[in-house]
């Protein structure tokens, strides 16, 4: 059971602001990960450049606040790109042996868009972060 506080109480599964203007395909992907769990914003950081000159290689880093103990840790962080040809970008799967819940990689972005990161925690809670990246030269063409 996830206790609802004033800050997390909501009508929909997703926080209204997080759901706003995401494409139906992205919303469906988020829903597929989240299921019937309650999503909280906060406690998760998605670091991307505000402006990416080259969409072929955009640095991405995610981190989630967690003690990363056996009883309280992050199990996965999923990253979605709202306007890429496919929404799915990557999933990072963590164990307590990681010591921290953070990871980084480099990704392709076809155009200016929002990125969404969803963290799944061992207690069944789910956290979501959203970040816009402006892309100067898209990285999905050919």
């Amino acid at each position: 059971m996830i206790a609802l506080t004033a800050a997390t109480a909501m009508l929909s599964v997703l926080p209204a602001r997080a759901e706003e203007a995401l494409r139906p395909r992205t919303r469906a992907a988020v829903q597929g990960i989240v299921g019937d769990r309650t999503v909280r914003e906060g406690g998760i950081t998605l670091r991307l450049p505000a402006i990416a000159e080259n969409g072929n290689s955009v640095p991405l880093a995610i981190s989630v606040d967690s003690p990363m103990t056996e009883s309280d840790h992050v199990t996965a962080v999923h990253v979605l790109a709202d306007a890429n040809p496919l929404a799915e970008v990557a999933t990072f799967r963590f164990t307590p042996a990681c010591g921290r819940a953070e990871a980084s990689t480099r990704i392709r972005l076809g155009e200016t868009q929002d990125l969404v990161a969803i963290a799944e925690l061992s207690d069944g809670s789910v956290r979501l972060a959203r970040q816009e990246v402006k892309v100067t030269i898209g990285g999905c063409g050919g």
Partner: protein, 110 residues
């Protein structure tokens, strides 16, 4: 024909003390062909990507990543690890065809 799996590399920090949370950085050469591009004749170039990365420490999986076509060519992956003792990492990258590249690297905890 899938692209060759390329050369894997990993950077393990040195001078590590027990309890430190270190960052492991890995890189492998691979085109990460998205399946979205067309060749000069207009034919779709088939998708050929590294689909998964797994890190084991002394045989136990500690971190995994599932990659999609949006991960850049020559995938760079960095992740944390709590260094409690010396041991051996094994990293495995696997492509769409099920072919793997492997790399072992030792961690020394002083």
């Amino acid at each position: 024909m899938p692209a060759p799996m390329g050369t894997p590399r990993a950077r393990i920090p040195t001078g590590v003390k027990a309890g430190d949370v270190i960052e492991i950085r890995t890189l492998i050469t691979h085109p990460m062909e998205t399946g979205q591009r067309r060749d000069a004749a207009g034919a779709v170039i088939p998708r050929d990507i590294i689909r998964s990365f797994a890190a084991r420490f002394d045989g136990e999986e500690v971190f995994r990543m599932e990659l999609h076509a949006a991960v850049s060519a020559n995938p760079f992956i960095a992740f944390p690890f709590r260094a409690d003792r010396s041991g051996r990492f094994e990293f495995v990258w696997t492509n769409d065809a099920g072919e793997s590249a492997r790399l072992a690297a030792d961690l020394r905890v002083g």
